[in-house]
């Protein structure tokens, strides 16, 4: 941030003499330092606050992951010396390393450990017996690692003497080193390394399938004159409203060990790659469909007219006009889907079986093995493809925007019986797949005890008798979604306004813009783990947030920051750039324009942002899995936990609760938007012909 209020006049002597023929020659050449006005100060403060928010909720936690991933812990044997007195006086000092080299007690592998690693010293003394009258002495060469004698921590370099009964309770603590040891360990552990291959394989296969299926769907929607387009579109959007693990549950009911259609798999198991791919296609389908539909509807009808006039065949037109026109959309959709699949946690957790994926590995390392360092390493490994996909997507989207700005005539499809019937059939198949999986979940939720008692009941909704948090978790989810929608919309819209409308603080704004784009590239698991490292550090003054609802809100807002930010920026770009200048010339503060003009005009986009945040807060698992506490259990996590505990039917029931809550929220959003549009119709519609 720049200039300061009172240094505006660089040369006070020349100020008073406008009429004198030559003001002092030096003064005009001097650089003018603009005086900071009141608006500038308020804006600077706002940018600082929201920038600080992004730094605290994003940059610092990510830094914590990175630094955790390069801190390795190992037992530094050279640092400990022993002396033994077997009744004949103290032997010469010998280091633990020398002892270990002689004994080969511990392999280098076994010397690597985590931050909490402990090593009993008795392993270096094969003849150790706690009843023997032997005495032992131990000291550290450097006062770094420390050892524990019982519960007492010794960090000095003095000799400490123990009898054998005490000596059996002496343990060495790990030393910390900074370096790539963890990464070396990761890549030399086949079980871990394989997950990277698995994740990439699944992501690529799912991407190809989803993009192909979504392209066909989008093609039918934009290029045919078939009926029921609106209905198809609505059904295809449904997966956005459920957690990504819900299709997993449906697939278990369909193809699991007691599945209705198990024989369809010809002996293959649904638990593994097949299940993950089918579920991934389900939950990423709407994302791909929106992007490709947009790309296809942008293409220029004039090109098709030209193709017709050149008597090009339908097939040739498809390859020379349609595909090139939609290529940016296709590429963008591919990378978005890739990113969603590779970072997803819920689905592989539910249906992955023994097939390990990166996101699940993070969970296993952290929750199962308490190995936070390795969790951090897997996070960084997962971050790389995610960042790459994100970057390529951004570049491609920029190109598409450029294409968009050229004027084109929208394509109006002509009826064509055979083609339309084919399209209709295709869309029916796709929507049956989507609606079918959701329907299966609903059915499963209402059945008493699959597959033995198929009578219907609401027993499975009796969440309070299950593990997972009960109905409270649903209420918590609603609260989280409401808070996220409210706080997130406010923060994100204000942040976007500052970036878009201030002219000064160029470098700060660029940094802010970068931070605002970053969350899209950060997998939820990584963000959640980052929050553990950052907020669960007792030295952090924000430590108190850990385990509260607030940290869930912060995590969710940050996780879904980018798309909301872009929505806000797009809306703000449509506002006249000079509104703030006009206000300044009329000596009105910028926030008057903001509240009286900017927000009311952008209200539809503001509502879009809040519904987006609401729905995602309801369905997210990966971001919050590490952060909830017993008081803040969430519905989406309850689905996961109940499924884990074998209560699959209640898990399906809870999943459907999320679905219906989201439908409710969307309906409210629809009504609100309608109302806003009706109230503002007077100034949004252009002048009628009669006026004037």
């Amino acid at each position: 941030m720049t200039a300061d209020a009172d240094t505006a006049t660089t040369d006070a002597t020349t100020v008073t003499a406008p009429a004198s023929t030559t003001p002092a020659a030096a003064s005009p050449a001097a650089r003018i330092r603009p005086k900071t006005g009141r608006d500038d100060k308020i804006m600077a403060a706002f940018i600082a606050v929201i920038g600080l928010y992004l730094i605290v909720s994003l940059a610092l936690p990510l830094y914590a992951v990175l630094s955790k991933s390069v801190s390795a812990f190992y037992f530094d044997l050279g640092n400990f010396e022993f002396q033994v007195d077997r009744g004949a006086g103290w032997s010469a000092p010998v280091t633990a390393r020398q002892l270990n080299d002689e004994l080969r007690a511990l392999s280098p592998e076994e010397l690597r450990t985590s931050g909490d690693g402990r090593l009993a010293v008795t392993v270096f003394f094969p003849d150790f017996n706690f009843r023997a009258p032997t005495r032992y002495r131990i000291r550290q060469v450097q006062p770094e690692a420390a050892f524990l004698a019982g519960t007492r921590r010794v960090a000095d370099t003095d000799w400490h003497t123990f009898d054998s009964n005490q000596f059996r309770r002496v343990v060495l603590r790990a030393s910390k080193s900074t370096g790539l040891d963890n990464y070396r360990a990761y890549f030399s552990t086949p079980a871990l390394f394989r997950s990277l291959k698995n994740s990439l394989t699944i992501a690529v296969i799912s991407t190809v399938l989803t993009v192909a299926l979504a392209f066909g769907f989008a093609y039918a929607l934009t290029r045919s004159a078939m009926r029921f387009k609106g209905l198809f579109r609505i059904i295809a959007m449904a997966p956005i409203l459920v957690p990504s693990l819900l299709p997993g549950i449906a697939l278990v009911y369909l193809f699991g060990n007691q599945g209705m259609l198990k024989s369809f798999l010809l002996g293959e198991s649904i638990y593994g790659p097949i299940g993950i791919v089918i579920g991934s296609v389900f939950f990423t389908f709407p994302h791909a469909m929106i992007i490709i539909t947009t790309a296809l509807s942008l293409s220029d009808a004039r090109l098709y007219e030209a193709a017709v006039s050149l008597r090009a065949s339908r097939w040739k037109t498809f390859w020379t006009v349609t595909i090139p026109g939609a290529r940016y959309g296709l590429v963008s959709a591919a990378f978005v889907v890739f990113n969603l699949v590779i970072t997803d946690f819920g689905l592989p957790k539910v249906i992955g079986g023994q097939y390990n994926m990166l996101a699940v590995d993070i969970y296993k390392q952290v929750i199962g093995q308490q190995n936070f360092e390795m969790g951090a390493v897997v996070s960084v490994v997962l971050l790389i493809p995610a960042l790459l996909a994100f970057t390529i997507d951004r570049v491609v989207q920029k190109k598409q925007v450029a294409q968009l700005s050229s004027r084109s005539v929208p394509y109006a499809p002509q009826p064509h019986r055979r083609f339309d019937a084919l399209c209709l059939l295709y869309c029916v198949l796709v929507t049956v797949f989507i609606a079918g999986l959701i329907g299966v979940c609903q059915y499963a939720a209402l059945i008493k005890f699959w597959p033995y008692d198929l009578s219907l009941s609401f027993n499975n909704y009796n969440f309070d008798v299950m593990d997972g948090g009960g109905w409270d978790s649903w209420k918590n989810s609603i609260r989280l979604a409401l808070y996220t929608a409210a706080a997130g919309t406010a923060v994100i819209f204000c942040g976007a306004y500052m970036v878009e409308k201030t002219q000064r603080f160029v470098a700060t704004r660029a940094a802010f813009q970068f931070l605002a784009m970053l969350p899209m590239a950060i997998p939820g698991m990584v963000l959640g783990l980052a929050y553990i490292f950052f907020f669960n550090n007792p030295a952090n003054p924000l430590h108190g947030l850990y385990g509260s609802m607030a940290i869930l809100v912060i995590c969710t807002v940050t996780h879904f920051y980018t798309v909301s930010h872009l929505t806000a920026v797009t809306a703000l770009k449509q506002m006249d750039r000079e509104f703030e200048s006009v206000a300044a010339s009329l000596k009105q503060p910028f926030h008057k324009v903001f509240s009286r003009v900017t927000v009311p005009v952008c209200l539809p986009s503001v509502l879009d942002i809040s519904i987006y945040l609401f729905v995602n807060a309801m369905t997210t698992v990966s971001g919050v899995i590490f952060l909830y506490s017993p008081d803040t259990a969430l519905a989406s996590i309850a689905v996961l936990n109940m499924d884990d505990a074998g209560d699959i039917a209640p898990a399906a029931a809870m999943g459907m609760m999320i679905f219906y809550s989201n439908i409710g929220a969307r309906l409210i959003h629809l009504l609100l938007t309608r109302k806003v549009m009706r109230n503002t119709q007077a100034w949004r519609t252009r002048r009628g012909e009669a006026v004037r």
Partner: protein, 392 residues
């Protein structure tokens, strides 16, 4: 000091520089404007007009140089601490506020009573003939009406300085011509010092008290419309404002110019002998002489009506000198309604192409048609001379 101006200028711009990266958008621009003046910044697109206006407003503060307004150094002040109203090309009307609320926007928080604000709004709307439109939204108004609302909003707080950035360029030609007159009348009535940016020379010539012609970030000339039109300081100004014939030549003695086989008398006092120069004359100043009939007639074409401080010499007497009389061939004719534009080739000037604007009357009288030969006169007092090289 020697002869100081009778009173301090209202606005004074002193050696202003504005740099974007390594591009200099304004270079050492100095200007003084008196109270109540209507000034136009005129120049081609990208020459820095808007940049200069925004520096005066404080919206994009200059890199170096100072600005004084009403005796106050405002060089570094943010816009809110200056005293101006502004109308942008887009008008920047608040779309969700009615006409009345748009105009009242600057009157709020000024310790004015509600009723006073409303009275002021009504009064202002009457001033610009928009009475009764209070309740409409900007989208429900025509372009011309929107422009007037924007102007009214800028004037509502009675600023000392009115800044207009291409305020008419978004309108169609008829509305523009009408608003030109209205705006000028309003400015006279209110007496508010006004700076208008435009790239339209006609707008500048008809509205401004003084025109500031800019090019490439520097001021080429400052002067009244007639000065700019009749006595351009540079070839750029001569060609940017109005049409101009260019005849490349070489300076001769006594301010004369040698072109091909002829030596032209000019109004210049001294063109360096032997230096490459351009002689320039406006199409409406080219006089035809139909052989025996002698007394030619100047056309009513372009800006002649703006009136002459240059000697409105009697063509016949000037012709007596004989130096500037030439023969030319008519190539083709273009009918432009109130006059004809005649394209000629003049062999004596080394095959130089000239255009002349002639009245229908003169055309008829002298039977000028394609392929005809005509006697031309280039009246010496209308032949301008500029050094060749820069922009020539």
């Amino acid at each position: 000091m020697n002869s100081a101006p009778p009173r301090a200028p209202f606005l004074r711009i002193d050696r202003l520089r504005k740099v974007f990266g390594d591009f200099t958008a304004l270079n050492e621009v100095s200007l003084a404007i008196d109270e109540g003046e209507f000034i136009c910044f005129l120049g081609p697109s990208g020459c820095g007009k808007t940049t200069l206006l925004r520096a005066v407003a404080g919206l994009d503060i200059q890199t170096a140089g100072r600005v004084w307004q009403a005796g106050r150094d405002i060089s570094a002040l943010p816009p809110a601490e200056r005293d101006f109203g502004i109308v942008f090309q887009s008008y920047a009307l608040f779309p969700n506020l009615t006409v009345a609320r748009n105009i009242a926007f600057g009157l709020e928080n000024q310790k004015l009573k509600r009723a006073d604000i409303e009275r002021r709004v009504t009064e202002l709307l009457a001033l610009v003939n928009l009475s009764g439109q209070e309740g409409k939204y900007p989208a429900q108004l025509s372009g011309g009406e929107q422009q007037r609302v924007a102007l009214t909003r800028a004037l509502a707080t009675s600023p000392g300085l009115l800044l207009l950035d291409e305020p008419l360029s978004a309108l169609d030609a008829r509305v523009r011509a009408h608003l030109r007159v209205e705006m000028k009348a309003l400015q006279r009535r209110l007496g508010v010092t006004t700076i208008m940016v435009t790239h339209d020379q006609e707008e500048a010539l008809t509205m401004a008290d003084r025109i500031v012609v800019m090019n490439h970030g520097v001021i080429e000339q400052v002067g009244t419309p007639t000065e700019i039109y009749r006595r351009p300081d540079t070839l750029f100004v001569a060609e940017f404002v109005g049409a101009m014939n260019r005849i490349a030549g070489v300076g001769a003695s006594d301010g004369r110019v040698t072109v091909g086989e002829v030596t032209l008398d000019t109004q210049a006092h001294a063109a360096a002998a032997g230096a490459p120069v351009v002689a320039a004359i406006r199409p409406e100043d080219v006089l035809p002489h139909a052989g025996a009939e002698g007394g030619g007639e100047s056309s009513g074409g372009g800006g002649d009506s703006a009136g002459g401080d240059a000697a409105d010499g009697d063509a016949a007497s000037a012709a007596a000198k004989g130096n500037n009389r030439l023969q030319a061939r008519v190539d083709y004719l273009e009918f432009l309604g109130s006059f004809w534009r005649v394209s000629l080739t003049c062999a004596a000037l080394g095959g130089v192409a000239l255009t002349a604007d002639l009245s229908s009357n003169a055309m008829r009288r002298m039977r000028i048609e394609a392929g005809a030969r005509v006697d031309l006169e280039l009246p010496a007092e209308r032949v301008l001379v500029f050094p060749r090289g820069r922009g020539a």
